[in-house]
Symmetry: D2
Subunit: 369 residues, 4 copies
């Protein structure tokens, strides 16, 4: 399906209230941190997006003023540089790079400074950084899981005096887990979660994990990963009550490992659910989950269930649906908690770039722009 | 330390009651399944052992009559074929391959037939196969964990009318886990165990896992592995009462994965212990554990504790102590069960060949031959 | 572009003389060896092909009578089993599996018997097997390299009394090399070729290379690979004179290695060319090569030239153009032979399944059916 | 063999003229660049060396003043930090780090400045850096290949007015190749050499090659590697005439690749030799080569010949002899140049740390200290 018609068709299916009038068919956006692994995925996803159009590619001082193709080692397949290789990189400040929507692939430290600057200047910042995820007035958003949390934005704007705002997506590992737990929490209620991960090297960015560390090896430690998952999950599955998120009240333990896989985090999950449902009942809850609303980038199915005893596997499954669905297999009884299963998701798409993008699509659909 | 003096010194340190009189300085042994991955490790370990001497190398019909070096694709470093490359392989039957001690690296199906045949003929069979592990009159033995279980042998001999007998070592994954849980069970009492494994390809033998399945990938399934661990652990940590093993009464859940690692199973372990001890108390229990008796092949330390936040790692640590110690690191609080840690062990040594060998050394030390 | 319209469009662009009349819009084909790695690629490529329609999936006795999805471990992405999972496998004999076109993914030994049987029965067999490649009356065909060699088919039919015939594609490693040498041979004349390969594990089929052999390793030997390349290249670039191929008269040496790569053979090539052209002249010869005829599966460009100093690389480049183009980079002076460069191609597509398919498309275009 | 007795025995076998009198039993040495991958190997090799004793560990400014274990991420097995973890790192200048022998694991740029400074101050610098390898008055030394080149030191001292001097070992890839060619050059005369390499990631240091670049991949480019090999080989095999090296007069072409291997460079080598000897004659030349003099670190055999058709392989063979021998296999006819074979060597031992060390041992044996 060629891009142009696809866009027309998508716009027909998703009539959105654009505040930019008749002249502007797509909303201009800025990408902060455009040269990194996640930034590149933003560029590729936005190169032909029905709602958004790249206005600014922003990068750190070292790269400002260079052309994108000169400053960026493109690591993805497809058209290199999203056909924006000649675009000149600008500094990541509101006065040089403002757009009504900003996608942030920044590291934590610059995110702490730059994201508020853009929000104050009136931009809606969709951030993949961890800087503001646990702030109590910042939505930690997954459209399929907690779309109502977007309501926090009003609280945030009031409290901080911002015209714009910051919306975060969770850590990649937590994103897949939240997507898997959401239908179970809705159908049964989650009481306890055990999760051991086998994470891809792309999660550490580029250059990231040295090959001397990971070839033929396992590293049983990823800095800050376990606390992130353990903190973010209760907020993600929490309830939006009045002006705040009331975290879900389940116990959770994460044990995180790096493995020699390029793309795709595998998670071994064990859960205790209210009423102790059977594997068949759990499978049914996954199969029948149809979260609303559908967004332009939503995959056909959010959850792909695998019947083969040895699937999902990252190399074979992670690229299905453009990396936007999650994969679940081996649903079976757990002698300890009741149910265990294998979970797989694309860490730099579903867990990063596409996660921010879906959040922006939700915000547009909700008329927040 | 050259082999000959080492043997003399070891014999001095481990005076053993040999039933073979003054003429015989080492006990003759047979290796069943000598050409496989575990069989080769038996050969290498026994090539210069202070107590044992290889009498017969036995293999399947296809290889019988060939020289060892012609029938076996040697996969290990060191002197190939344990300097027995010219030895002619014999059929794995008591009339062609009898020795008072038999090490079995057979697959399950042949083990079901051949191990009883040798036991009936009077041999003590030390088996790495799973065929008889859960038989109630067969010791599932780890010298450091449950040396008293060897007492089952009397029950077995009486019940089955055998002069010899069968002693099993557990599944490789369960062996490391039992070694890690033993000091905790003794110091505190284990109440619940969660274990997610990242297992090396050598565990599947040779040719074993196809490279097309595992390069840059994770396979979240190993046939029969999870039930083996879940069944064997309670028996391993159980108490020998009268004439039977009373299994330990803790819940256990195993989630097993194959990863692209050559040697060394990594296990992410979470445990609930009586009294909810602190990580420091758990570390102390590991550090002060000195199981008896010391055997000729016992490593200096059974448990190697790692202080670095990203250790143990299979490629860096698995070969320490000839693969005979286990490695524990990242002892930390678990929000769900109380304590979590990383465990690593050498699956084809500590988890297979050396496991059977230590069992045989224990049997000799206990005068069972 | 949906399959149906694509087919209509392709048929318009490629009007072919079909001998099957108005009722039949696509030519029925049989796939021999449908369950293997190459067989699966045939199935996927033919599942929606404009000229061909799968009539029979044939397999060895062990699988005959089973459904395709039961007998085949599908190793590819995309719709598993090419949507033919329910098709019942038939025996690979002309009386159970005849079709006017037969694609053979057989091993050498069965190919020696079955391919002639189908040819005698009137089928045109397009074979990926090595059994008949060097037979003097069998075309060793690459449409872009030596389309006139198809003329050997008349010789073959006369000599063997067959109504059908056998057309072979070369060994995967030789295919890429021939595609790279063809424009150089045409523009300058090849005098000597040195080729060291770094070959993917998929080239050995499934289960193929054990992971214990290749993880973190290099195996400097692939059985029969070096002689195949050294024999086939002169025939491939030879001239069809009267009724025979006169081999090209250059020296060639191949040094073949297996590396831990899933898909894509890399080849380090050094050539001596007549007139000792400069790297720029060689680049020009690659860039301007436009072989005829264009076929339905022909990629946009046969040769993709890479300017980056560290490309092509198998993981980043091999899937471009559906694996049908070859990749060339690092064209530079060779102190010994004059020119050296890096070559990459998709071994199971361009080097196997798609190679046979292109040959069949050429035969149809030439009216040989 | 315990270290202490080994030293005594070695000293007995290698009586060396030490200029430091009766009180000093070992010569003090400095390691420049002690924290890197090669520096660590120097430390490990020198921790218990019969002739040398580590006096100073020097590092870059960033690390000066820190303890070795705090500044260095130890990447090797064995006792971490060579038991020198508490040693305080000093600045790499002659006034803070002088010793009569200096081992340099510096990068090229600092080597250009610091190595002459130490040489001027009177130290003999044994350098693994490339800075001075091609300087016409600097020996590019391999003790087994060209021990007489050490004579250049006199030229160097005279010309530069240094009391000490600089002695280089070649690039790792070139070292193995020179060791393989030396016996052939002596027995027959080398006329042309073609070499395609498959190089381990350890050759790029730490962090070195990002895992995202090399997992399941091949990179057909290593900066400066091909010219280094092509330049250094003729110098290495050249003749020391009067006061200069006359380079050997053969053509040589190198094609270098990075592969996902931890340790060990594999080289596919093809050679034209005078008189066109048979593979058997070549094998004989390798087998009978006994270079003089024997040094304390010399392995039992410099060349290990492999008879198996698929050896040598880096994972199985590279650690033999502590990484000090080279491995040759698959000696066979080359249709182009006459002879081809597979070569393997340990790139960070034989190709780096141990190379410098052997050079120092030679200098001591020759009384140059």
């Amino acid at each position: 399906m060629a891009g142009r018609e696809a866009n027309a068709e998508t716009r027909a299916r998703f009539p959105i209230p654009t505040p930019f009038g008749a002249f502007m068919t797509r909303i201009p956006v800025t990408i902060l941190g455009a040269t990194g692994v996640v930034g590149q995925r933003f560029v590729r996803r936005l190169a032909d997006h029905p709602l958004f159009e790249i206005r600014h590619l922003a990068a750190s001082e070292r790269s400002t003023g260079k052309r994108y193709q000169a400053a960026c080692a493109w690591r993805l397949g497809g058209d290199p540089y999203g056909n924006l290789g000649n675009r000149v990189l600008v500094a990541g400040h509101p006065d040089t790079a403002f757009a009504p929507i900003v996608f942030s692939a920044l590291d934590t430290e610059p995110a702490k400074v730059l994201e508020p600057a853009f929000a104050k200047a009136g931009a809606l910042v969709f951030s993949n950084a961890s800087a503001f995820r646990m702030a109590e007035d910042v939505p930690l958003l997954i459209p399929e899981v907690n779309p109502d949390h977007l309501g926090l934005l009003t609280v945030q704007r009031t409290k901080r005096g911002w015209k714009g705002g910051i919306v975060c997506n969770p850590n990649c590992t937590g994103t897949m887990l939240a997507l898997a737990l959401a239908p179970l929490h809705k159908a049964f209620g989650v009481e306890a979660v055990f999760m051991a991960s086998l994470q891809a090297v792309s999660g550490a960015g580029y250059p990231g994990v040295p090959s001397l560390d990971i070839l033929g090896n396992v590293v049983p430690f990823i800095r800050n990963e376990e606390p992130k998952v353990e903190e973010e999950l209760p907020k993600l599955l929490g309830a939006f009550r009045k002006d705040a998120i009331q975290p879900a009240a389940f116990g959770i333990s994460a044990l995180c490992h790096r493995v020699p896989v390029i793309e795709g985090h595998t998670e071994a999950v064990s859960v205790r659910l209210k009423g102790n449902p059977s594997p068949d009942a759990v499978r049914e809850a996954f199969a029948t989950w149809k979260p609303e609303p559908r967004l332009p980038s939503s995959p056909e199915a959010i959850i792909r269930l695998h019947a083969e005893e040895d699937r999902p596997q990252p190399r074979l499954d992670v690229d299905a649906d453009g990396g936007l669905s999650i994969h679940i297999g081996r649903i079976r009884p757990c002698p300890l908690l009741g149910i265990k299963f294998t979970l797989l998701g694309h860490n730099t798409e579903r867990g990063a770039a596409a996660a921010s993008l879906l959040n922006a699509e939700l915000a547009v659909a909700e008329g927040l722009l």
